[in-house]
């Protein structure tokens, strides 16, 4: 019973994070939410009995991918400031 409630909270927040990351216009906010999404996804996979995959997702998916995207978002934000258009 408690486990089912746990699962429901886990999934609801995961989907909320995904929607928030996909609908945010500002690049840096989107990347931040994407990193949070990756960390949460690692948590879900740890719950599903896949600690090895969770390890890889946290380190590579959220960590490395997030850092790459953060650098790109920094450039995009600067370009948006300069041109005023969407970056």
């Amino acid at each position: 019973m408690t486990l089912l409630l746990f699962d429901l909270v886990l999934i609801a927040t995961l989907l909320t994070l995904a929607v928030a990351a996909l609908t945010s216009v500002e690049p840096r906010r989107a990347v931040m939410l994407f990193i949070a999404f990756g960390l949460w996804l690692a948590l879900v996979w740890a719950r599903l009995g896949a600690p090895d995959v969770a390890l890889a997702e946290a380190a590579i998916g959220a960590g490395l991918g997030g850092a790459l995207m953060l650098a790109a978002a920094r450039r995009a934000a600067r370009r948006r400031q300069r041109t005023g258009g969407e970056g």
């Binding site: 996909l22 994407f34 995009a76």
Partner: protein, 97 residues
């Protein structure tokens, strides 16, 4: 069984959300985030299917997902470099977008 169904459904929902955002949004970074979330949905579905209540999970989907994560990050990095090169050359002409 219900665990598989619950988490598998979440994976499908993630995949659909990512596909929708990939089709709708224009900027490169948002498209990349969308395609990454779409891939995460597929991974999530695989992990959910590998789960067997109580018993140790099926290792083959886990191996597939491990490989997939690395490939997804490499593809993202390649796309970001392409985008940067495009910017240096002045961007895409308006009529070819």
């Amino acid at each position: 069984m219900s665990t598989q169904l619950l988490y598998g459904g979440a994976g499908v929902a993630l995949c659909v959300l990512g596909l929708w955002a990939f089709l709708v949004h224009r900027p490169l970074l948002r498209k990349l985030i969308a395609i990454n979330i779409m891939g995460s949905g597929v991974f999530h579905l695989l992990i959910a299917l590998a789960e067997r209540d109580g018993a140790p999970p099926d290792p083959v989907p886990h191996a597939l997902v491990l490989t997939g994560i690395v490939v997804a990050v490499s593809a993202t990095a390649l796309a970001l470099v392409f985008g940067r090169r495009l910017d240096e050359q002045g961007g895409v002409p308006e009529d070819e977008r």
